[in-house]
């Protein structure tokens, strides 16, 4: 059962009705039961054992950390973390399997060590990070331990966010699970609109781009620089719209139950620096990295001053890459983001002085230039994130420089129809529909502002109708899964 399926809509409707008639004190039980059913059907049922393990370790760890002698609480904190990391480690079993096989081959042995493999580890990356954040906050006395096992379990397993986040903080989510639910028409309406808007972004915009990206990145050696360039731009927008669509849908569903989840995106491609991009992209994850990885490392290495900060940035982004999966592509992607920010750290004083000297500081022109440069740096890194392997990624990078010239040449020498021929599997109608949908999805801030100022009821219902109609007529329901499910 995925978000883009009739079964899911039915599941949410039943859960909402049951939740509505349950007495407040059993609210957590209704939502937890639904979350476990959802997780068991969306992933492998045996992953429930992993979830139960992480929940138990987190619950007992939190209670013990807060109750024990200050001299031993550090040890209990570390022991609890080890328990959670054990679950996170399941994601890397294929890597362990390959490493063992490689070692055996190097030693000239044909020993086969059976290492169990899970067909899917969906969700583990998200609820383990949330568990680590909870244990750390309790350890630092920034959060009291949750004494109600059911509510702690629900905070980790809440079905709108278990598969793909947002990675919620205990301090934000747990208090909301204690409140009494009252039906609120405005919240319910806005939750449904947010869910539907996410569905539009996914099925009409992101998946349309996905068609082109999958064809080109599925066989990069068959295409020239111009096509690779178009597919690379398309992927930059696809991954954003796909992930933002999921977050909108998750937040919309949660709102139906009176729960507000974290906003994960804030127009990331409007960032004027890579550091700012990370303050706008996958916010719940980047805040997690900042608070639980970067800052502790930076503090530990503060004696090295700026070099310590640089080392903390590199370590954070390399681990961020590995969190997505143990492949060279993710590692290079993380390393690129780390290098971008380390370069900025060492050169920002020089660039600030230069901008002031030539009178560019604070100008609109500089901001536009910075947005363009940042977008291209991020899009370049996405190549390593998307390509099937490092060889494919390097082929794309090697052929990109010829792309712009080829594109301009084709546009000058051919008519509009043949220039579309650069993109395989894309006809003119799909290209127009996809482009309009992408522009609408990227301009959602302006749309929202206009929508909020519109009080005409007929116009509003016409808007809802158009949104529904466009999803059912133009949407792609081919089962293309959300990109971040894999992580």
């Amino acid at each position: 059962m995925t978000f883009v399926s009739p079964a899911f809509v039915l599941f949410v409707a039943i859960t909402w009705l049951v939740h509505g008639v349950l007495p407040s004190r059993f609210r957590w039980a209704g939502l937890l039961g639904a979350s476990l059913i959802f997780y068991a059907t969306a992933a492998e049922p045996q992953l429930l054992v992993v979830l139960a393990w992480v929940t138990t370790v987190t619950y007992l760890g939190g209670l013990r950390i807060s109750a024990c002698d200050p001299r031993v609480r550090g040890r209990i904190y570390v022991a609890s973390l080890v328990g959670v990391f054990f679950a996170l480690g399941l994601k890397y079993l294929p890597l362990v399997h390959d490493a063992v096989a490689l070692l055996a081959r190097a030693l000239g042995r044909s020993v086969s060590i059976p290492i169990p493999q899970l067909a899917s580890t969906i969700g583990i990356s998200y609820f383990t990070l949330q568990a680590i954040a909870y244990l750390t906050d309790v350890y630092l006395d920034m959060l009291p331990p949750e004494r109600h096992f059911g509510r702690l379990a629900l905070s980790l397993a809440f079905f709108p966010k278990i598969l793909q986040g947002p990675i919620e903080r205990g301090g934000d989510l747990l208090p909301q699970l204690e409140t009494t639910y009252h039906f609120d028409y405005e919240k319910t309406r806005s939750g449904l609109v947010l869910f539907t808007w996410g569905l539009f972004k996914k099925t009409v915009a992101a998946d349309q781009l996905g068609v082109t990206v999958d064809v080109v990145y599925g066989n990069v050696h068959a295409y020239s620089g111009a096509t690779l360039l178009i597919a690379t731009y398309a992927y930059a927008f696809q991954i954003y719209l796909d992930f933002a669509a999921y977050t909108d849908m998750a937040r919309g569903i949660a709102r139906l139950f009176g729960i507000e989840l974290t906003r994960n995106f804030d127009r990331p491609y409007a960032a004027t620096s890579v550091a700012e991009f990370w303050r706008r992209w996958h916010l719940s994850f980047s805040r997690w990295l900042l608070d639980y990885l970067f800052r502790p490392l930076q503090i530990r290495w503060r004696g090295w001053r700026q070099h310590g900060t640089a080392a903390a940035i590199l370590a954070t982004f390399l681990l961020s890459g590995l969190w997505h999966g143990a492949t060279w592509g993710f590692l290079v992607w993380g390393a690129l983001h780390g290098c971008y920010q380390v370069s900025a750290l060492y050169t920002r004083g020089y660039f600030n002085r230069l901008q002031r000297r030539i009178g560019l500081a604070g100008t609109q022109g500089l901001a536009v230039l910075q947005v363009l440069v940042t977008f291209h740096l991020v899009a370049f890194a996405w190549i390593f994130f998307r390509a099937a392997n490092l060889r494919d990624a390097l082929h794309v990078v090697g052929n990109l420089p010829t792309g712009p010239v080829e594109l301009v040449h084709r546009m000058l020498t051919a008519n509009a129809h043949s220039s579309l021929g650069l993109v395989p599997g894309l006809n003119r109608q799909d290209a127009v529909i996809g482009s309009v949908a992408v522009v609408l999805a990227l301009w959602e801030r302006h749309l929202r502002r206009w929508w909020a100022s519109t009080h005409s009821l007929p116009l509003r219902w016409m808007g809802y109708g158009a949104l529904f109609l466009s999803i059912f007529v133009l949407g792609r329901f081919g089962g293309r899964k959300f990109i971040y499910f894999d992580f």
Binding site: L140, M142, A275, R295, I299, R302, R305, L345
Partner: protein, 79 residues
């Protein structure tokens, strides 16, 4: 010069702003240039200025200048 005045002087040096005024309620959002990169420069400067060494745990719980002031006081008392 009391702790708050000395801390204000340190802030002014680190953020290169002789007019900067910090209060116990001041947070990183209120000071131009106080981001996650410059935070460590501030901490090192405060440690040098007061001749103290914060613990890792203390540094992770700072949310506003008031937390920093309390930690400085505690470290000076223990010295």
């Amino acid at each position: 010069m009391n702790i708050a005045q000395r801390l204000t002087e340190t802030f002014r040096e680190v953020f290169n702003d002789p007019t900067l005024v910090v209060t116990p309620e001041t947070t990183a959002k209120d000071v131009d240039g106080w981001d996650s990169f410059s935070h460590v420069n501030l901490i090192v400067a405060v440690e040098l200025s007061f001749g103290i060494k914060f613990s890792q745990r203390e540094l992770l719980t700072f949310r506003k200048v008031g937390d920093l002031l309390r930690s400085i006081q505690r470290n000076l008392d223990q010295a």
